[in-house]
Amino acid sequence: MTAHLTIARRALLGGTVAAAALTALAGQAFAQQDLVFLSTQLRPIEEAQKVRDLILKGAPKTTYVVDEPAPFTVRMKAEQDAGKRTVSVVGALHGELQPLAPMGSLDVIDDVAAKVAGRGIPAGLMELGKLGTGKQMYIPWMQATYVMVVKKDALPFLPAGADVNALTYEQLAAWGKAIQEKTGQRRIGFPAGPKGLMARFLQGNLLPSYTASMVTEFRSAEAEKAWSDFKAVWATVNPNASNYDFMQEPLMAGEVWIAWDHVARVKDALQAAPGDYQVVAPPAGPKGRAYMPVIAGLGITKGAPDRAGAVALIEHLTKPETQVITAREVGFFPVVNATLPADLPAGVKLLSEGVAKTQTAKDALVALLPVGLGDKGGEFNKVYFDTFQRIVLRNEPIRATLDAQAEVLRGIMNAAKAPCWAPDKASDGACPVK
């Protein structure tokens, strides 16, 4: 019975065959055109087209290819093992570039760092680009973060004494409740769908705001408080939230008035009706207003077929003019010293103000994207999402759930041997879970 082939296996097979065919095709195309720029960012077709048409204008002739994070790592490893590089420049998030360094896929680019020294990239970001090796492994490319988008319709219901630019989680819950009581609708939204970034909210916003930690204090009393406060927020969250992937969709549909998401995932709503929205910093807890900066970087592969071209491409992409075009077209913000022009599209302007409010809030607390987890990144996210599912969606007791999930988290940290990252205090060896 051939029907015994499971769908999973069939898909796997089909995928492998298709990938092989594509690689073969792509290989031919690359032979004629040497400088290949592989990116895990700006993947949607419209964004990729903007990269090709606008952002890469004036750069050396480049083939821009995109891939999802998991196949990206596999491809880097495969090219390295095969001893045949096709990719010269890689563009990816900090956490995606991290595993490439120990793998030996990234070339040291201290020379490029010297060339872009005058661009005004903050020293802290350049330091991140060393990936803990002491040598420059990537050059910061662009940045983003997660913000809250508020539809102006929601403002009349703001609880007395609450400042929309300095909300706490308790005020957010009260606000949602007021909206629900007056309009009969639950109008707060979080991207808790299959492709949503809910785990990032829990890691980068909620927990650090209460515990000043992402990992170590996972099961602390403060974390318990964070979850019980968030449960109160969730009571006023739209029941469809577990299907939301990109918050711009429910915002545009008018289903949600207050939404948390990555700036790139709310951009369409803001572009469509900039007058209707305000972008604010995410709420704060007792330990501060935690937020997660997202840094994408540019690296050069070891054994790059066109290293000179790669250097020229990185120089091009970090030019202030290019960075402004990038902000305008795709909503990722400059890492260099560049003034955004006044004629910025209104939606992007709102976002850039929101990002600035988030970064400069006086109680701002930086929570970095997970570092050094390698292929355990997926399971790390699962710990947070599972905890959320159990406590918030399935109403399991908070203490027992945290204790159980902390065990899983400890196992992952030990297996990955990942030392702590901000806001957790530096550790020798694997980051401990208390």
């Binding site: 029907a3 499971t6 999973a8 097979l13 998991a70 029941p239 577990s242």
Partner: protein, 282 residues
């Protein structure tokens, strides 16, 4: 005639080689992978799979779905098949229309039903326009498990009843008319003719249809993923999530092996339950 001895083997060889490369090898690889964990060869992936918070739910949902969808589909397909038998004019057109869903990919079918059933979908808009609901009513989220289940059942029945129908229509055509006519002469009522003549003679086709549908139903994924996302975990969906999102191929392989074992068990069950004695074959 020495040639004829090896000729059959030569003719099936390409198929065997194909199956060997694209079925047996990946199968063995998957089984191997499912036993390889962080600390060498063992049951680590399986204990991780069983310990996961979605495992019990995925088992429950998958079985519930199979036990609901299969009887519905067989019942419907039998009824539709019998109706077709009675038709004279336009029979081919009706059969053709009924089998259209067969040509739709399961993900596409899921998306079509999503467009119909989501809270901003067509059915919601229609009911709202008719004044039957007050506003967009969600049916497909974690707070509405019953309607979500009904939606998945609806979509699955719509999508995959046709395959059962096609097999049963084939089987019905093989039953000689004389049996029915003879029974009629002896005064058998239609229901008696159906239960005493048609159904027993249809057993081999029913068996094939049930095996095929049950195995495919245990592999249900795309429709569920489109309609319910993570709100309705099923076994193959979990395999996908472990592979793609959690990036743990070992646990994904363990799920694949589990689905295979369940499918095999279901096949053996139907082979035994609907065994036809050689002398009883039409």
């Amino acid at each position: 005639m020495t040639q004829s001895r090896w000729l059959p083997y030569a003719l099936i060889a390409p198929a065997m080689v194909f199956l060997g490369i694209f079925f047996i090898v990946p199968l063995v690889q998957t089984i191997m992978l499912s036993f390889q964990g962080g600390s060498g060869f063992g049951l680590e992936n399986y204990s991780k799979m069983v310990g996961d918070l979605n495992f019990g739910l995925a088992i429950k949902n998958t079985f519930l779905l199979v036990l609901t969808v299969i009887p519905l589909q067989v019942g419907l397909a039998l009824a539709m098949g019998m109706m077709l038998q009675k038709m004279t004019a336009g029979r081919d057109v009706v059969l053709w229309i009924w089998t259209i869903p067969l040509g739709v990919s399961d993900l596409a079918a899921g998306l079509v039903w999503l467009a119909l059933l989501q809270n901003t979908g067509y059915i919601n808009s229609m009911l709202f326009a008719m004044g039957l609901i007050e506003g967009p009513t969600p049916w497909l989220n974690s707070e509405t498990p019953v309607t979500l289940f009904v939606a998945v059942v609806l979509a699955e029945v719509w999508r995959a009843t046709a395959i059962v129908l096609v097999i049963l229509v084939g089987g019905l055509q093989l039953i000689p008319k004389e049996f029915g006519e003879a029974a009629e002469i002896f005064g058998a009522k239609p229901w008696t003719r159906f239960t005493r003549i048609t159904l027993p003679l249809l057993k081999p086709s029913l068996q094939s249809a049930l095996i095929l549908r049950t195995v495919l139903a245990f592999e249900v994924f795309a429709v569920v993923y489109a309609l319910g996302g993570r709100n309705f975990p099923v076994l193959v969906g979990e395999a996908y999530v472990w592979q793609r999102e959690n990036q743990n191929y070992g646990v994904a392989a363990a799920y694949a092996v589990l689905v295979m074992i369940i499918s095999l068990a279901a096949t053996i069950f139907w082979l035994r339950a609907l065994r036809t004695k050689p002398e009883a074959q039409a």
